[in-house]
Symmetry: D2
Subunit: 354 residues, 4 copies
């Protein structure tokens, strides 16, 4: 009920604050006998971790994952998989200036109101550093699903008002070779320039991430409340800074007519178009599942801002600390991880009825 | 796990198919001692029911709700509240032509694949008629929350490409006096004209619903997975035909900079702007909560369409039956109901820690 | 959270009060495509219903079950199965005398304290009539499990201090031919005599029910909290009037030594003894699962009793109404039903990992 | 679904194997602002840990608990409390002889069958060492409930066939001064003698633990499935080696008549007797809640036993390793911890409806 668990069958419960001892979690319900590729998990963490390039925050932590249980002789045992990443580079002095203040559009005010005693350092539990646990669990889910032929591919589609448009032949390679994880080379270059310009003003940027899931069997998703798109929407909106979700035709679909929007069947039950986004009646239909997630600009800006302290007195907050200008390049593995957690949950529910 | 339950504390479990005996549900966890205004529930059902005007489907059912348990001497008892609305006007012959066919962009194919034996009549469990149970439970939630000063107001903001723009002084009255539930009179008239034109072509329309929630206390929502916006997103994407969700600045927020987007505090901890949409760090901050939901056009069109039968043979589906051209006017009480179910869930979780 | 749902995968949510309109429930998660034998369900309800013989209460209701959803063409559809049994013989006047009083060892006082507004007629929600919904759902579970070779057989092992001892060759027939459902003919006759004697004094009796489950595959049950015996214990203690649960060697096992108690393996991994009761480490081992449930005597006696009214004033409660002297013969199908709900839940969890 | 989580509101998820790196867990849902007395938690762990006296196993580990999150400035923050106890004294060589064998009445065979790949060392996940996490979480629950006036007191009532009978004036002190945690001095001495005699034969003992809960408000427990006694029964049967549970009059109540068993009210709504065990209709009535738990003798005996290897070949298992003769003295804090987890769960549910 306190919201730190995701999933029912393949269940992740997470813990940890940005400047506490560690971030971690427990995965319960993972099948036994699976080889876990720890290097692949670490690779996903590396995609998420700070300090990857000039375009991401310079807080430099190795973010090495340790497993405390649930793996024996290199394989899962079916018992809980506990893991953690120690926080090694926390400099709490960076945050003394906000111990008594509320930063605009941060979680300081709401956490203070809800909990009174909260760890304000670096955002505490509200820090995006919490997503480390999601990436670890999502990476394990992806490894399991990969053996079933299910794959996930996300990229940055928009930063600020710069939109990727040349989106043919997208691959993990074409995404990863862009420092901002946008496979359109032209847009990628423009995005990098925009980030530099924005950084020089001490400001920040938002954008849109696109994610595609290939290879899902027909039948994932449960009517009526646990429709596949509903669980994907919840997963995405649970990520820090996410402001919107759409799948298939999305908001544009609102302007189409039924005769334009309907996906006509081929004789093999595939469809000629895919406005449905791979989901009909809440259940996967075998086509690609795709969706987009909007992220707001990061609230931590390097400009001075008006704000209030805990008594409501007007104060000025100076921008300090080490922050990204744009969270999207690092959010790619998080979006994929959350998508994988949704799909593995529904894949296991589906298996139960086979 | 089979997805027919919503909520954990204030928990709704629903049942029923479009052409079965009844649609209904059980509400578990409703506090005791509350007077239930059955007429108000019926009023919400009337807003949802077909046959309200020329702009909605002509299937004409009274949709009268009956309560089987949980209410004694006019007040709730704290035990499960079971209710149902009998299906009185089902003419299954309308659907004989689809017993062996899959209608494009309907749930026929996925239900058939997932369940083999499914009630295809009128969409069966996948029919929007299922939302009757949501409206009943949501109406009870709204009654409880109203006493706490929490109110819900949704309206049609867009149909096809016609967008409401004059959105000052919106009230339940200004919404309800529009047959399409759009409070902008000019846009409302254009929408009605568009619906008529589209109907004459046998086609259908989608659009966007806007919803505003006033009066939430500070502190609703649970980090990290059960953020208030995450649960709202799931609730909205669980509604038939919904394709997207955004709250606060939403997709537009992706194009703003941090200095534009941050909501500066006043000395009473209210904010000067509300790009946050009333939620920060996943927790309500006392400002209005607002969001938008995109709906695709209805899949049941009155034009002939190419499709396939269960063996993959090419067939032509003729448009038959009684269908809306645009679901949005009738979806208003559904959006409000699902929003109320999310808020009451989090309000009760919040109360537990007071 | 309000406790009216049992199970997670095969999930039963129930509703109804003794003297309300109906008792019923919703089963969510039942696999699709299963033929449901409604007559067999009715047969189980008949074993539970009052008025079967002079040894059970004379309230005479047909207790006919109606299904409102989830079954199409005689088979389950995978969508929620809603059902109800209407209350047809409620005479609320029987209970006017307790509207303002608390009966000793009934739920009147605790329900009043917890809910204030509660349906006191016939015990309301606390009536054993609530178990009708359990019997319906359990009967469906039994039908599904029977096809897997899993069977349930419960009988009355003790009433008052009379214990069945001749327990060879027990069958459904040998149980059902006893009016008190005790397969030991000698004990059965003594139990009937004891019931008659006790009835003549206006008093009531308790006893012990024994239940055996055959045919479970190896592997049902989840460490560490959802051990199979833990879920059976919860299921049994959730039945009205149950006071104790033991499985395998039970309380007697406490007096044995390890060398006496350990079950030695045969070469086919069966065991030479079965003190483990078919469960080791919380997981079924393929041997018979067996357990015993103790029931207290019924609180509704026909003797005058001292009690208090809602203000604490001393009053005398006269025994009125139609009550069993001993609930155990009618509790047999309830024990089997709850056992079946536990086993099907764990059987479906187990299938998921195959 | 995989069974490693207990509770819904105050939720404990545990991890760890006997000979893995650590045993631990995450508590989600703990209220914020509470001072946690870490020394008191350690004290409970010390009551559970091996090597306390000659009457318990000599595996000597400090079992020091570390907290990784959820506590800031000495108080809870409302975010997940993660903790662990490192395994420091594991000597895996002790268990090489069972890598290929199934010990009688252990979990080896069922874990092997269910998971194939399992950590057999020291029982792995099935080891009673897993209960460390329960004791930590239960100790926190006890601290919170103590401030509400709710207290827990368990003691050993029976070992083998020796029963405590002088049970007046029981206190934590009178329990703790007995090396076997039996407050009856005479019985305690006999039990110690029995343990020594049994140890000398390489055999083991079971027994019965009694637990009393004082100070619960009226109203804890949810009809119909989450009756307070049902959740207590599940909690107790989830403990390793537990074979039975009874509350109030228990199995003896089966032999009483209604007129003997009914608890007559006093004018203050307390009752003259307490056969109900403090619970009526599944809901606490303000009287003491008390129950008894039967434990089988430990399966690890020091005698040679016939058994089978993984291929079904007959083998002889020699008793090796460091084991208790009787688990009950060390199980006292576990029983109290599980009781506390049940009560805090229901206490928080109850608070929600105030």
């Amino acid at each position: 009920m306190a919201g730190n668990t995701f999933g029912n069958i393949f269940q992740l419960t997470t813990f940890g604050e940005s400047h506490g001892l560690a971030i971690g979690g427990i995965i319960d319900g993972c099948p036994s006998g699976l080889e876990i590729d720890i290097a692949a998990i670490q690779q996903e963490l590396n995609r998420r971790r700070p300090g990857q390039s000039v375009y991401t925050t310079q807080r430099n932590e190795a973010d090495e994952v340790e497993f405390m249980s649930g793996i024996f002789n290199g394989k899962t045992t079916g018992t809980p998989i506990a893991f953690m990443v120690k926080n090694t580079n926390q400099d709490s002095a960076d945050y003394n200036h906000i111990a008594e203040a509320f930063r605009p559009s941060h979680a300081d005010f709401t956490y203070h109101s809800k909990y009174q005693n909260y760890d304000y350092r670096g955002g505490g539990r509200a820090s995006a550093r919490e997503t480390i646990a999601r990436v670890v669990a999502g990476s394990i889910a992806k490894q399991i699903l990969l053996k079933e032929g299910i794959t996930f591919l996300a990229y940055v589609q928009q930063i600020g008002s710069i939109k990727a448009e040349n989106l043919d032949n997208i691959s993990l390679q074409s995404i990863e070779k862009s420092p901002v994880r946008c496979p359109d080379e032209t847009a990628s270059a423009q995005m990098m320039q925009l980030i530099e310009e924005t950084a020089s003003k001490g400001d920040t940027l938002g954008g849109i991430i696109y994610c595609n899931i290939k290879g899902c069997p027909i039948g994932l998703g449960e009517p009526v409340f646990d429709k596949l798109q509903a669980d994907l929407a919840k997963a995405m909106l649970s990520i820090n800074a996410a402001k919107g979700f759409e799948y298939g035709s999305g908001f544009e679909g609102a302007e189409m007519t039924g005769s334009q929007h309907n996906d006509i069947f081929n004789s093999d039950f595939s469809t000629q178009t895919n406005h449905s986004g791979g989901i009909q009646g809440g259940i996967s239909n075998g086509e690609d599942i795709y969706f987009r997630v909007a992220f707001k600009p990061i609230a931590s800006i390097m400009q001075a801002q008006q704000s209030v302290d805990k008594k409501g007195n007007s104060i000025t907050i100076e921008g300090k600390g080490r922050h990204d200008v744009c969270v999207l390049p690092r959010a790619i593995p998080i979006v994929e991880a959350m998508a994988a957690l949704v799909i593995i949950e529904h894949w296991m529910r589906w298996k139960m009825y086979l």
